[in-house]
Symmetry: C2
Subunit: 245 residues, 2 copies
Amino acid sequence: MNATIDLLKSHRSIRKYTDQPVGDEALETIISAGQAAATSSFVQATTVIRVTDPEHRKQLRHMAGDQPYIEKAPEFLVFCADLARASLCCEMHGIEAQADYTEQFIIATVDTGLFAQNCAVAAESMGLGICYIGGIRNNIADVAELLGLPEHVYPVFGFCIGHPDQDPDLRPRLPMSVVLKEGSYSDDGDRETIADYDKVVEAYYAKRRGGSKAMTWTRQVAGLLSEKCRPHMLPFLHSKGFLKR
Amino acid sequence: MNATIDLLKSHRSIRKYTDQPVGDEALETIISAGQAAATSSFVQATTVIRVTDPEHRKQLRHMAGDQPYIEKAPEFLVFCADLARASLCCEMHGIEAQADYTEQFIIATVDTGLFAQNCAVAAESMGLGICYIGGIRNNIADVAELLGLPEHVYPVFGFCIGHPDQDPDLRPRLPMSVVLKEGSYSDDGDRETIADYDKVVEAYYAKRRGGSKAMTWTRQVAGLLSEKCRPHMLPFLHSKGFLKR
């Protein structure tokens, strides 16, 4: 173990921030750390939009399920998977761009994930707190319009940054045997291990929410798969030229 | 700046390793650091498969474009986006799982990216080197069969780990003004900035490859979009129950 690993293992989403600004210099340090992450075929398919306009922040807050920290966080970024820049490279060489393959969507989405996670680690190493905002996909077409996103660019998630004004507990993760498999995929024994883990998560929620709410991991996750999950995503992505073949 | 940010900014893919093993304990530390990354709606949609069988390593090497380090690295992992476990949660609660929405595919893919990038940072903080292997998607159906992946699980990338036996230069990234935008998306001025950056990348390649190969960034990226890009991906993902609506 070392200090970096301790830092990684101490991550919690921070949703309350002090008024202290993050500052341009710190923000650029965070972004340059993000850029240093691996990028598939060197495509660098991520563009970050920093939203500072209070009216736009307010609108984004409402588009993303009324999460107040989107409006209140000292910094709010939107991480975009961007193949428009790669298309520009094609144009500069007189080549017709083909950016509608599913594989390219995966490349741009993974690039953006690696970039953002480096930003998260960099921010936390500076004593800042962060929170990913998947909720911007609730009304993704409105978000894309507000940010002026062209074809072949989509907003993957938002990202709040600020100085923490809360100190939440760590959320317990699945036991190692469930997530790390030897040789091939198997869920042998997972059912029992997960049932035990449910009790750990239930105890965590009981403590965190003052015992007012009972929730296990399996029940929470089952909820995610039991209903229509942002069914507008595929038509939206098609409209932006993604995932066509 | 601090030591963690210096570490993030010193990343290069390592493709040559000494014979020194990584060891079970270090590997579990790396995976637990990966688990500590943010996860959308707490779904924890990542499963890592550690491949140790030499014959399987050899096969994976050939499936992934004959990259020798897949066979030779002390550790080779395959990071899988996994919604089968979430389906198991549904089953445990007698709920019918719906895992075929595009949104769920994005959730699982992003979860896997964040998890893996934490693993990359953890490994590098221990003096190890890593290399992402997108090439496993060249023959993704064969990889999935070899690893016994069920419905709603797909292999996103491979990941080599070992003690570095090379010291490659840092690859210069795009200027900040191109990747960080204020308020809304715009490529104003990017063309000129990118043309200048092309010269930086060309100088990097000339040095790295002993001057034997001339390559700019825009030419390299244009190549990615100028031809069919793993056109088997969408039919494969459909066959695994992903991206159906």
